[in-house]
Symmetry: D3
Subunit: 332 residues, 6 copies
């Protein structure tokens, strides 16, 4: 079975028109998103076709990240909006229960406690059967002001995830600094998430917390040597007795959303197939034809199948086994 562990909701315009309306009226109109069954059925069918085209059996779908809007004001708009996304995901799963499973967005908002998202966390996981959550490590969406992920701010969330036996996918949302696009910010924030969680020894407090980093880990596998050296450097607070960085890195899982085969190879050789989950973010920014191959950049299954340094078991783990391990609530 081919499980794509990193995919997003395909939704009709009516969902996004609802977001525009929330922003325009400041939440005054109240009410819910009005996504018709017809529109949603069409959107889901479209997605199934996309999956079939590349041989994906199951997608774990979360809200479209750059549309999460965690920094919208007032914060209750974020709650309404994220819930609306999760609702449409739930309906999509219901339409195709053998092809989709839900990964919930969480209404974590700047300046408010992370526990504000717990009602939605319980609702999605316990009531709606979602199998994971996606967490934006920068709810401020580009102001460089919030707490990094080793800050005590986040600990109640980690505890709750451990309690529910649910993994979190790290994926930032929008970026309004004017310096990076949201897509570039994804990479930045994935790197910061890994490095800050290791720097702050989060896994000493939550040894069973499971974290999947999107897009092959940002810059970290590529810059591995830098962090290996600093970890051991006596002038930088390290030392030869320190746990090697590459060992600490095993606390994380990584998806394969790297549209460049050389990079994907580096990832797999660096963190190992046992820490890597097949993911494509398809349809998404990679869904355009690579002139060099004639295939879409995000058609990664053949890329992985062509890697002969991987054993058959390794491939199975990547395509299916690791997803089952990380997302035990997935019952397909």
């Amino acid at each position: 079975m081919i499980i794509d562990a990193h995919a997003h909701l395909v939704a009709p315009d009516s969902l996004y028109a609802y977001r525009a309306n929330l922003l325009a009226d400041g939440g005054y109109h109240g009410g819910k998103a009005k996504v018709s069954d017809d529109d949603l059925t069409a959107a889901a069918a479209n997605n199934i076709a996309t999956m079939d085209g590349v041989g994906t059996d199951v997608q774990l779908i979360s809200p479209r990240p750059y549309h999460q809007g965690h920094s919208m004001r007032p914060a209750r708009l974020v709650h309404d909006w994220i819930s609306a996304n999760n609702d449409v995901i739930a309906r999509t799963v219901e339409l195709h229960p053998t092809r989709f499973a839900g990964v919930a967005g969480l209404p974590i908002t700047p300046g408010n406690p992370v526990s504000d998202a717990f009602d939605e966390l319980h609702r999605t996981v316990e009531d709606l059967g979602f199998v994971g959550v996606t967490v934006n490590p920068d709810p401020s969406e580009g102001t460089a002001t919030g707490p990094a992920m080793d800050d005590r701010y986040w600990f109640p969330l980690y505890g709750k995830l451990v309690e529910l036996d649910v993994p979190m996918q790290i994926h930032s949302a929008g970026c309004y600094s004017g310096r990076e696009t949201y897509s570039e910010h994804f990479v930045t924030e994935e790197s910061i998430a890994i490095l800050s969680m290791l720097r702050g020894n989060v896994f000493e407090h939550f040894p069973t917390l499971r974290v999947m980093i999107s897009h092959g880990g940002g810059s970290v596998p590529y810059q591995l040597g830098r962090w290996q050296a600093e970890q051991l450097h006596p002038l930088l607070g390290g030392g030869p007795e320190a746990t090697p960085f590459e060992e600490k890195l095993k606390h994380f899982y990584f998806d394969t959303v790297l549209h460049y085969p050389l990079a994907l190879e580096l990832l797999l050789k660096t963190v190992g197939p046992e820490q890597t989950l097949f993911g494509t973010e398809r349809p998404g920014s990679g869904s355009t034809t690579n002139p060099a191959t004639g295939a879409p950049f995000d058609d990664l299954k053949p890329v992985i199948e062509a890697m002969d340094f991987l054993s058959a078991d390794a491939r199975t783990a990547i395509f299916e086994g690791n997803a089952r391990k990380v997302f035990p609530r997935l019952k397909l």
Copy 2:
């Protein structure tokens, strides 16, 4: 000849005590750094020994980046401090004129025009014989508020560098967001610099501008596929007729400061040996022993020599030729 294109000043405590004093007195005491000849001679000799130990003939040395302090207030402290660094570099070069060449720090400060740094640029290049400059793309040092490098803010600097035929090395300095260490911020800012300059088509305005990105290009070579795909994606402002990302990337030069051989290999295979300059940042954060090899992480010469996919010419270009091309004022 082995030219290390990315190295930093080794200076005695008295230089840094001067910085502490500037910060303490707000510049009121006036005066200059007091770095004695004896102390400097000892520090330089130490560095020469470090170079000899790994077979480096020449180092291009710039101020120690995390110590540049571009966000210090008031801005004139930055001017005093950067000049003091450049002065000590000039004295170091004078002590060993066949072993060092200077790469100048620039006093670019948040909220002030980039032209405030031109006096120091002229002084170092024209009076003191420096062969390049190092530019911090984030003088705000972590507040995510300044203009990215495609902003018109930077254009006068680019024009001046072209006029002086001097390259710039991209290297951020401190980081006070509380989210990243300065070292992690290096990687973030290198990525932003590449992506923003390409997004903003800076090289259409300055086709002969030469830019060397530190630390192997941050995250960009690793995340190449993402940017290739977006460049061609019609829904993301791109299209099939767009110049391929990998081609645009040839506008940059990269150093080899990647302490992880697999990453260095990916870099060389991605941007090509003709765009890569030997650099080690040694002594620096990589100057600790890699338990896997018994050698320092930043002893990169044998790593490159061991890469059999590189031709002899490619190696020479990396070790010497590219540096001479990028830094034509280097006359050693």
Copy 3:
């Protein structure tokens, strides 16, 4: 002919999904709104039916006010978004050229000169044939920080409108103070616009400027006595020789968007039928059934026809003549 001088665009979800996307991606995706011909044709037909239902021949349509979003950041999003609205209005007019005329939204944004909107003003009036513009007197959308409409800030706009012989309709947009809904803020801002323009003697500088105040003038006709008295009060900067307030008020035109007959009567008796234009904002917040009448609150034609203190000429002026006088570019 019955001309409804205050009506808004009826547009499909795809237009508002575009807004949501602009906000999410910060403008990075570029591109235009994707409103299909089919969707637009359906929306327009729906609106025609609504007009036919209450006997309206022609509507002057502007962007839906609370959706204008003048305070969105960065400001270029406002330009993209307002233009998209005006484009859809132009397409709607093209579909039914005898039933609609366009009133343009303007991308006036907080902290930027009003002249930033002139390109769009020229485009809509001169290229697309719009007959008026709608102006938000509070582009900051509820922060109480921008210049009131007697401030020199606005004068270039007034000059341009006079030059183009185009009226402006005063209508605020969103409100994010948390104290008022956007709808309540409409009333507040209409009142401030009238009072500040008279306080600042704007019409001494622009005697031929034509201004239509929405919703029957906010609170001003009702609070008339207060302003009459203050105008004449020596301790409040006034005096018996001052121009009476009710006379100064004749500089403005008012629409009839008051869903309460007693209020509409007060308006007409206070400012006179010669200053009043038929307007309904239908379909809009008044499009619900008034249990007392069984008709929609915004079906105002019978209300006016029932007012026996109005002469036939007065009625004709209200329904058609005044609109032709205020909007001379209207050629239907």
Copy 4:
């Protein structure tokens, strides 16, 4: 008996010089206002003459609103200043106990809990015999940043007023936004107070709270149809089953401070004579001659007496009965 339920303190310069001094010295001088008995006696006699001139028997007097200065910093200046006003009111009442009763100002200040005003509330009502309080719904005086009156912030005050059986008069104070005069802001804030208290269902929590809105209710009676329609509109969070707006509006009392007879008529026909209290704000901004009548704008008794749609009982209720009902502590 003619009771003017909306009138303000007439005080000598020495009271206001005290305010100037407080502001100048930041409260450092300490001490109390120095209002001499002679000056106060003269001021009060002047006011009695003004009342006699228009046939008013009793005035309920509160601090002059635009002089309340709730946004002065530091907040203790507000306490000193409001107490000084209340003291002078108490002395005025003592001079003419059959002609005046006190309505207390409250030192509610931005950013501080409303309970900071409770000491002064108790002092004025219980020790000094005041019969009501005046509340500024915008202590920030024009920054649009404070909580609207449905916010939990205000609930302790409402509870205390219910407990003391004391009504509150809504009347804003200064306005420093640069967009409105304080007098224009009165109207804005009265409207916001009504609409926010109804939106937030304050009277469900405090069914016996009595609130008198100044100046005939701001814009609300005039814009009644707008709020009726929105209340019933399914797309705006309403519906046909909602309590009609005009019914909810009966929770408020209104004064007659509308210097325009048509408007006063609209008020009385809209909210009913049983919800309306005679009030003139005389002497105040209406105390200038209306050229159309030769009488002062604020001489409202003959205006009301001339309204033949009012029964004799209705008139008595307006002039006296309603005031006794709303202000039960008034014992004259």
Copy 5:
């Protein structure tokens, strides 16, 4: 003749009530202060009696400093208010032309150019015959944010004063930091004014500028040794060749407003009688009885007369001659 070079306006309550009104209404009422001739005549007579009681012939009177309010917002209030003060000073001088001369307040406001005060400067000096100006070195009134007096900000004022041959008296106004009273801030700001003007070498640019420092020079004469030493200290930017501090200090004039004889003696021995002007600030904070002497603290004439280290000429210079030299426009 005994000339008191540091005295302030004695004005009736009506002037300060005007300030309170300006602050309350934000300047909307317009109009002027209403200070009646009777009240002013009484206030002036009172002051003459105070002068006669201690043998003062002439007072140079300026606005009461702590009441200047330079940080009031919006800035036009400061203009109205300072002008009102200067007007009352002019009227007082007119009442007693042989006993008073005017020293003008200037409407210098935070964030605005110093030239905003030039109209008032010309009006008071050229039209109204004022003989000097009083300048608040901290128009921000306690926020520690404005430019010190060596900043180029102030240079246009210095040029204008030199051009008009008018001296300036340094005297701060209010203080709202919550750390100092306004009176304590006077001392702080006098010290900063002296030290910053000398540090910045203002007198090299304006050698004929005449500056009188209030209250005996703040802390500077007492702390003289500190500044003498720093001026000569090579590690503090000084050196043995520097102009001695005590010599540079001769650029300033000082008044005698020190209510402590030992301090006054130190002043006179430190800066010399030729730099010292008789001043008492009477009536003011020193106008209370010193239990040790039975005389008011601010009755300084006998104190100076009792100093036997002063020659008769020195005394005459202090009491009269220096004032004539510093204020040449004084023609009494």
Copy 6:
């Protein structure tokens, strides 16, 4: 025995280079200052020689004030840095236990509770044997925003000092307002400290708190008459029954760090020899030759010895006895 109660650490460059590094790396490197024994021994020997040269037996040494950096961000840098200073002081005392005693710096930082410094207070006094603490009354270092020393903010510190029987020396640190140098700010803050503690009656709550004001009390002894008069002035919150200011001033101790003999004489005559401690701040800003005497400005012993108005007992108290009284933990 001659005890110099106000002296500062003499430390090698390596200590200050550590501070520069802390600021540069944001504390990320961790680690401790690296001050070698050789360097420290040399620095201490140098200081002993300086003491011997002027006959000082014992110095109480605290961190160099302008280098304390209380406003550094993040606050933990201040903790690291102040501890490093105290450590070097402890090592210096250990080198010359008969010549030095420690006065501890405290890591009090803006916006954080004063109790954050208690760990370091206990460590230095109880573990390391320090005899006093130095307190910066303006940890914000020049922003005029923190609480003055009569604010409840400081009370836990006062309580702790009383409990430990340890005095505090008032001495500000840096100043970054751009208006004053740090050295000028010393004087400002000493004055504010005295005046605010007396205004707020701190000694009524902590009658046994012992406070030594640096630099002869800032401006207060010189401006004594001003505060005497205000204390007794009924219009300024005072009165004839108030405790005389000069009596309240006896709550403080003063050092003799006034490099101007006339000023030192004024101090001693004003506060009395029983409140004065010999102090020189040598080596410091006064360590340059006074051309008038040929001796260093800070060689104050002969100055005091030459004052014939002092009795022998008074001199002994100043040189030794008062120090023993104020610093009872001093056991030399």
